[in-house]
């Protein structure tokens, strides 16, 4: 960790020095340099701190990689791209202030949405007030798009599809009851309600269900789950609570046959924090390493080269946002927000995640979250069957 932080510090120093060196170069280059096209500035906020930071940092890296790749190939409309971003601290209120700043003070040319539906819902009125066509790589709640926010444009699979393959798999394997948990946050509640409805549709008994706030103690919830004896435990949450729940279930001495958690398990930190307790946990991902999509292998290689780690689906979503935005800007030869929005809702774009197509409301159609499982410390894609790297390992053992 130390070396990577030192590397970041070095990169930070380079980033600070770059404008100064650029200014000197312009002075030295005289009129020729002064005539160089102004860069296209893309603004966003990211949750570099706060409870969303673990997942959000991947989204930022995906965006940064996308911009670096574009600049390496000459930029858009003959202009280089510059990313201007602020830390919204996982706070909707802070994000509103920062997007106001990006639009009115920084006067960025284009916007990308923040990480999480929670923060996106807060900034939506602002985006729509200023008519900024804003691609949303990290906001998966369909209501954001279907309920009148025409300038927010979805760019990911919606949260009602998170872990949607788990309950059918469990039922086919003999499961009869389920415990469902949902964090009190926009995406996770959409996921939770979708899974409650799915469980009823499949005829699974809901032995226990609750929503919870970001908290540290899951012992009572784990005890209640243990006493309800469900075959499946499915949690819609974020990284910190997903770790806490698994630990608490283990402490209470309960291992359901199927344990699924959204978002958290796809992060490397989850496997480190839980060690063998993470084995056979299911999760979801909107992108995977073996997708046979154009540019996917190159994306993984470039990401590893740039960040010395592997991407996750949040990183892929950030990268995809740049791909879609680039397609719109290039096709319309314009930075006009009306033209960009009109193009995005009428065209489909081939990305590393697959075809991305928004309907007239800006809601991405057809994209779903696939299912992965931790198998001996490695995440493997198990659904869809056509791309599966392994068969599901049943049951979850809790050790």
């Amino acid at each position: 960790m130390t070396s990577s932080r030192l590397a970041l510090t070095f990169r930070g120093a380079v980033r600070l020095a770059a404008p100064l060196l650029g200014g000197l170069a312009m002075l030295a280059g005289g009129a020729g340099a002064a005539r160089a096209a102004k860069p296209i500035v893309i603004g966003t906020t990211i949750s570099e701190t706060g409870p969303l930071a673990t997942d959000a940092s991947y989204q930022l890296k995906g965006i940064q990689l996308g911009i670096a790749e574009v600049n390496a190939h000459g930029g858009w409309l003959g202009r280089k791209l510059v990313l201007k971003y602020y830390d919204d601290k996982s706070s909707p209120g802070a994000a509103v202030r920062l997007y106001q700043r990006l639009i009115t003070l920084d006067k960025v040319n284009l916007l990308l949405g923040p990480y999480s539906s929670l923060v996106t819902i807060a900034i939506a009125p602002l985006i729509n007030k200023y008519h900024m066509a804003t691609l949303e790589p990290g906001a998966s709640v369909p209501d954001i798009y279907e309920k009148g926010n025409k300038w927010n444009l979805m760019n990911t699979a919606d949260s009602t599809t998170y872990l949607h393959q788990l309950l059918p798999l469990a039922k086919a394997s003999g499961a009869k009851s389920v415990a469902l948990l949902g964090l009190e946050s926009a995406y996770s509640l959409a996921c939770y309600h979708a899974r409650v409805a799915q469980a009823k549709q499949l005829g699974l008994k809901i032995a226990y269900s609750t929503t919870y706030t970001l908290q540290t103690d899951f012992s009572s919830i784990a005890l209640a789950i243990k006493n309800a004896k469900p075959d499946v435990v499915l949690e819609c949450g974020y990284y910190p609570d997903s770790v806490n729940l698994v630990r608490s279930l283990h402490e209470q001495g309960f291992a359901p046959r199927f344990l699924g958690e959204t978002v958290g398990p796809v992060e490397a930190a989850y496997l480190k924090a839980l060690g063998p307790l993470s084995n056979r946990v299911y999760s979801n991902s909107g992108w995977w390493f073996n997708f046979k999509t154009p540019g996917n292998k190159a994306f993984i290689a470039a990401y590893e080269k740039m960040f010395h780690s592997l991407p996750d689906y949040h990183a892929a979503a950030g990268f995809t946002a740049i791909q879609v935005l680039g397609a719109a800007v290039t096709a319309t030869h314009s930075l006009d927000q009306n033209k960009i929005r009109a193009w995005i809702v009428t065209h489909s774009v081939s990305t590393i995640q697959g075809k991305i197509h928004d309907n007239a409301y800006g809601h991405t159609i057809g994209a779903v979250q696939d299912m992965v499982q931790v198998q001996h410390g490695v995440l493997k894609l198990i659904r869809p069957a056509a791309l599966a790297q392994a068969k599901p390992e049943i049951p979850y053992t809790g050790h």
Partner: protein, 287 residues
């Protein structure tokens, strides 16, 4: 048996609360320094423990004395250079001034943690299983943390009430002028107490990281929790805080089981409001 398990879970949760709150009780409850950097110290020590175990492969328990000594030394320096001058100059407003100073200090420590360790939540996979007694389960990490917290509370109580240096601290916090007249080196006593308080907060952080994921920004949540608990238990009252923490843990355990996660989360703040209304006298420092 369910009732017993809820009781066990509540007591163990209370142990975690004692761990987080008791060192603040020394600094705030006894010395009168409103230490808003308390949570940042716990988070920083927790992140240090994560780094230490990752680098050395050693048990996180080994990080406890290291964090204690390092933080105590830093606390002593900080108290002498920063807190003490402010407290002396502040007069009747010294508590307010200490709040402002430590508020700034907390931001510096959080930023330091961000630069050193990054923003991600991390945790150490250690003592993840349980001891069982019949059908009762005792989470190992919580038992260890609770035992440490109980020992810490007992030692603090004994130190303050049954040793000369502890009594000197109490005397210095109640009447600095009177303490000086009795020949007590007030400045030295306060440095010692502050160093011990910060050291214990860091030791708590080294244990908290094995119980729950910690990130630099966890500092704010830990602060809030610690202030609520010592407010419920009585400022400067070690036995009261320990009892309040355990009762709160039990109440949350029962509420979480029967009413769900949201009720468990909001309970401490509801209780705080209720106690503020019913027993406003509890919010005066022990003198």
């Amino acid at each position: 048996m369910l009732a017993l398990q809820l009781l066990v879970n509540g007591v163990l949760l209370g142990g975690l609360y004692v761990l987080v709150a008791q060192s603040l009780n020394l600094i705030f409850g006894v010395m009168g320094v409103v230490n808003l950097a308390h949570g940042a110290v716990i988070a920083l020590a927790g992140l240090f423990t994560y780094w230490f175990t990752a680098q050395t492969g050693a048990s996180p328990l080994l990080a406890v004395p290291i964090a204690f000594v390092a933080a105590a030394l830093a606390g002593a320096v900080g108290q002498r250079l920063l807190i003490e001058p402010v407290m002396r100059a502040g007069g009747s407003k010294s508590e307010l001034l200490s709040l402002i100073v430590t508020f700034g200090l907390s931001y510096i420590l959080i930023e330091l943690a961000l630069q050193l360790f990054g923003a991600d939540f991390v945790s150490v996979p250690y003592l993840q299983s349980s001891w069982t007694l019949g059908s009762l389960a005792f989470g190992k990490a919580l038992v260890v943390a609770g035992a440490f917290a109980a020992g810490m509370s007992a030692l603090l109580y004994l130190w303050l009430n049954h040793t000369m240096s502890g009594k000197a601290l109490l005397a210095a916090s109640q009447s600095p002028t009177g303490a000086i007249c009795c020949g007590i080196d007030v400045a030295r006593v306060r440095v010692t107490a502050f160093a011990i308080g910060v050291g214990l907060a860091a030791a708590a952080g080294a244990l908290v990281i094995v119980i729950m994921p910690v990130a630099p920004q966890t500092a704010a949540d830990l602060n809030l929790l610690a202030f609520v608990i010592i407010a419920l238990g009585g400022l400067g009252d070690y036995v009261g805080v320990a009892i309040a923490a355990v009762l709160l843990g039990i109440a949350q355990s029962v509420a979480g089981y029967y009413l769900g996660g949201n009720a468990e989360y909001v309970l401490p703040y509801v209780l705080l409001l209720a106690v503020m209304v019913a027993l406003p006298g509890r919010f005066r420092r022990v003198r």
